[in-house]
């Protein structure tokens, strides 16, 4: 009996990766649409993780000619208990009897195909087509970063960078080159020796030949297996990486008028922004500022998960922003500001705020103002709107409910909006 047993486990799975990619590619529009739903349901903490998307099952259908219900069906079934020939029974509702489609998938329902996007795919769809507006405008390429790049091979280097294959290839070549004459002579002598032995030459002649052969062998053996000239190392040179530097100020209103829900919405927005920036740009700094009557700079964790509240003075935050900007970030930085608030402000503060805003704007590439809630006219909206008339880089959007956040986010960062 001929047989072979093969262990294929080493080959690894993943044959279907390409087909999965094709599937996602085909349904990218449906997936993008499903993102809105998905973003709403995610908690801030796992915003950056993958997630389950739903695609209507109808979209996935592969049509074919098939029978509908109706006509005559003669079914043969097992397990008769009490029926006799000629019995009549009421027709069971659709789907039953044939045994199909009773058990619906409780995670998806009958109409949806649910599947999990991994983190990479999720972020890809989340920020597909979005850009940070005007990032290249200043392009103050301050050369600060160097990146090692491969640049052929070198004859010196550190052991960890040794290219073993090349080194051995060199050594092999050198060995062949340096011993070829000796080897040739050796094989010639070998032939002589054999011929001599057959012809019955004197023991002396044979000994002479053998001695000569030995000395040739010695000479071949003296050529070192590995010589310092064989060594080859990967050569790396440092090349400068021009970087466009950007800083983003996240300003959040945490005053008493911002309820838990409003704060949560603002945080969602910043969380999206933060993920977006992290993904898109390598060199980017983020400053977190929260304010009520007083503004303070906080770290990421405190910003997203900390609690604090009080009255509202927007100018305090703008003041702090300006201070940090002047202190830490020179004119070669690209500056982005994103402010989230419910629009309430201490009315006497409006003048100061607007003045600060006007001062700030020329230094800023993009200033996104997000107002949470559905007040017809808030304290800040009108004054800000006036400023926006003069400065194109100030964009204002209103967010009424959680479901608005992702669409508004997309709107703000699609290339046309900028």
């Amino acid at each position: 009996m001929k047989k072979v047993i093969i262990d294929r486990r080493q080959n690894g799975a993943g044959k279907s990766v390409d087909n999965r990619r094709r599937f996602i590619q085909r349904y990218r529009e449906a997936i993008s649409r499903a993102m809105v739903d998905l973003v709403d349901k995610k908690s801030i903490k796992d915003m950056g993780e993958g997630g389950n998307v739903r695609i209507p099952r109808k979209l996935l259908e592969e049509p074919s000619f098939r029978n509908a219900r109706g006509g005559l069906h003669e079914n043969v079934l097992p397990g008769n208990k009490k029926f006799q020939t000629g019995d009549r029974l009421p027709r069971p509702p659709a789907g039953e009897g044939e045994g199909r489609g009773q058990a619906s998938d409780d995670t998806g329902g009958e109409d949806d195909f649910v599947f999990e996007l991994n983190r990479e795919e999720f972020l890809h769809f989340l920020f597909d087509g979005l850009v940070l507006p005007d990032l290249v405008k200043k392009q103050q390429a301050s050369i600060e970063e160097w990146k090692p790049k491969r640049a052929g091979w070198a004859t010196s280097g550190v052991p960890s960078q040794m290219d073993i294959v090349r080194t051995l290839r060199q050594s092999l070549g050198r060995n062949i080159a340096l011993t070829s004459r000796e080897r040739r002579q050796l094989s010639e002598l070998q032939r002589n020796l054999e011929a001599g032995q057959e012809a019955g030459d004197s023991a002396e002649t044979i000994k002479g030949i053998e001695a000569e052969m030995q000395s040739l062998r010695d000479r071949i053996n003296r050529v070192p297996f590995l010589d310092p000239v064989d060594l080859r190392y990967h050569n790396r040179v440092s090349v400068p990486v021009p970087s466009t530097r950007a800083v983003v100020f996240n300003i959040m209103d945490v005053s008493g008028s911002m309820g838990q829900q409003e704060k949560d919405m603002a945080k969602r927005f910043f969380a999206l922004l933060y993920l977006f920036l992290q993904r898109r740009y390598e060199r980017i700094e983020v400053v977190f500022i929260r304010h009520h009557a007083i503004a303070q700079e906080v770290d990421e964790n405190e910003f997203f998960y900390g609690t604090s509240s009080g009255g509202t003075m927007v100018s305090s935050a703008l003041q702090l922003t300006r201070g940090i900007l002047n202190e830490r970030y020179g004119s070669d930085w690209n500056v982005y500001v994103c402010q989230a608030t419910d629009g309430d402000n201490f009315i006497q503060d409006n003048g100061t705020a607007v003045r600060l805003l006007r001062e700030l704007l020329p230094a800023v590439q993009y200033y996104a103002y997000i107002e949470i809630g559905d007040k017809a006219v808030s304290d800040l909206w009108l004054p800000y709107a006036q400023v926006a008339g003069d400065h194109r880089q100030l964009q204002m959007r209103r967010v009424r409910e959680v479901a608005d956040i992702y669409p508004v986010f997309r709107e703000l960062f699609t290339p046309e909006a900028a």
């Binding site: 047993i5 294929r8 799975a13 993943g14 003669e74 208990k81």
Partner: protein, 498 residues
């Protein structure tokens, strides 16, 4: 006492031994197989294999991605176990063994797939007629590479569309009867000469004076209707490029390769189950395995041939493993211990060597004829089969026949009919094309048991037909000789290229 085969984890030595020992016993029973190639794979790899319809190599398509996602998810959620086995009709015959399986399960799989299915593939007449076990792997490699190259050259989108269309028509990509061999050049010439000669002999000057009718051409029926739609487009598609026709051909060829499998589900699975049962029992009888081994084996075996009753929530149709296993087991019983009833029903089986009878039943039948021939009253009684007649002209369901003296024949005929192709693939054929005028293509659906088509799906599928054909198409639905419904589709112009 120490047994050669242990329960618990398997080792390569044990697998090797199992194949050898089972192979020897199988030979004694007269199983004729291809050489075996057993491949140990992981669960993830099994899912990969699942989703490309069981082929080890297959071209890429999004629907396999969908299948993969679906299978992987339900596997991870624990909603489904993976099939124990997967086997490929090739020479050598490739069977997959999952690494998670215990030695007992591996033994079952080896007996079932590497010997049962293997022998079926090699000997069943449909497989012999329609599949080429020696060439399939090479063809799959060719198909994958060819389609990949087409994607590079003509774009993934175009190829994807073409494959979508072909997949929608896949059931109509098989020949059910072998087409006559094309004539040789000489025969072709001789026939042409004979025709000329006939025309000369029967020439009559008078006919020259009759004016040729100038009526606009209507449907020109074809000599013979074509039920292999993909074949028709491959050969006659006027708007399709050569590379597109080659892709249609690939889908068609693979469909043809799978055609015998769909026709022999009961017989094939039944045969494999019968042999795993028989072979492993032989192992026990000869002292190769312990009672503990057999207990575990019987548990798996009864899972495989489990048949819930029609009113059980787990019921999802007749289990082909169970039905086939019961029939083959009963053939053996009839040969060895016939009753009076058997002598009446199967006089030719009584006293015949059972191995011969079992092999013959495997060799020369497909599901419908296998059931029509071998479903015995005893199996009908054991399974308590009955017929439910569901006629939409009637407001209740009638019990047609049951497992009693009057019903056996009827149950057997009904069950056999359920496995005829008509029952699950609507009969649709190309009956005409207006070659000379607007090139409208006409398809005819002949209703089986007055069953209508699912109209939405039919419309979508017909759209694919129109897109492949490149001109309008009409689908007539016919009942008792009357066309009672008509669908039509225009080719989607946006798909027209240069």
């Amino acid at each position: 006492m120490k047994y050669p085969f242990e329960t618990g984890d398997w080792t390569f030595e044990q697998l090797d031994l199992a194949v050898s020992v089972i192979g020897e016993i199988a030979e004694e029973y007269g199983l004729d197989t291809y050489p075996n190639q057993l491949e140990v794979i992981s669960a993830e790899q099994m899912i990969d294999a699942y989703t490309s319809i069981g082929l080890p190599i297959h071209y890429g398509h999004w629907s396999y991605g969908k299948e993969f996602i679906r299978t992987l998810q339900s596997y991870r959620r624990g909603e489904m176990g993976l099939a124990y086995e997967m086997v490929i009709n090739s020479n050598p015959c490739i069977s997959y063994l999952m690494e998670e399986n215990t030695m007992v399960l591996q033994t079952l799989v080896i007996a079932h797939a590497a010997f049962g299915h293997n022998a079926f593939f090699k000997n069943n007449y449909l497989f012999r007629m329609w599949t080429d076990a020696d060439g399939i792997i090479d063809y799959l490699v060719f198909a994958r590479d060819y389609i990949r190259r087409c994607e590079e050259r003509h774009g993934e989108k175009r190829v994807e569309f073409l494959l979508d269309a072909c997949h929608a028509l896949a059931p109509y990509g098989v020949d059910r009867y072998q087409k006559p061999k094309p004539l040789s050049a000489e025969d072709e010439e001789r026939r042409a000469m004979e025709r000329l000669e006939f025309e000369r002999e029967s020439y009559d000057e008078v006919w020259r004076t009759v004016p040729i009718a100038m009526t606009p051409s209507t449907r020109q029926p074809m000599d013979t209707p074509e039920e292999n739609l993909l074949y028709f487009f491959e050969k006659k598609g006027m708007k399709l490029r050569p590379w597109e026709k080659e892709i249609i051909r690939i889908v068609r060829k693979l469909q043809q390769y799978f055609y015998p499998q769909a026709q022999t589900k009961v017989s094939n699975e039944g045969y494999a189950s019968f042999w795993h049962y028989t072979l492993v029992n032989a192992l026990y009888d000869r002292g190769h395995v312990s009672e503990k081994f057999m207990l575990e084996f019987m548990k798996h075996h009864s899972n495989v041939v489990f048949q819930p009753d029609y009113d059980d929530p787990r019921y999802s149709g007749l289990n082909p493993y169970k039905l086939g296993f019961s029939i083959y087991s009963d053939i053996r019983r009839i040969c060895e211990q016939p009753t009076e009833e058997d002598a009446h029903w199967f006089p030719e089986l009584v006293g015949k060597p059972w191995t011969e009878a079992v092999h013959e039943a495997m060799r020369d039948y497909r599901d419908d004829s296998f059931i029509a021939q071998f479903l015995s009253p005893k199996v009908i009684r054991d399974l308590k089969l009955f017929i439910a007649v569901d006629d939409d002209r009637d407001d209740s369901v009638e019990i047609g026949a049951i497992h009693d003296e009057r019903g056996y024949r009827q149950v057997r005929e009904s069950l056999s009919r359920l496995y005829e192709r008509n029952n699950f693939v609507p009969d649709i054929q190309i009956i005409g094309a207006n070659w000379d005028s607007d090139r409208v293509l006409t398809l005819r659906h002949t209703r089986y048991q007055r069953r209508p088509l699912d109209e939405r799906q039919a419309q979508d599928t017909l759209q694919y037909v129109a897109d492949l054909w490149g001109f309008p198409v009409v689908l007539e639905s016919e009942e008792e000789g009357q066309v009672i419904e008509m669908l039509s589709a225009e080719p989607d112009r946006s798909l027209d290229r240069d």
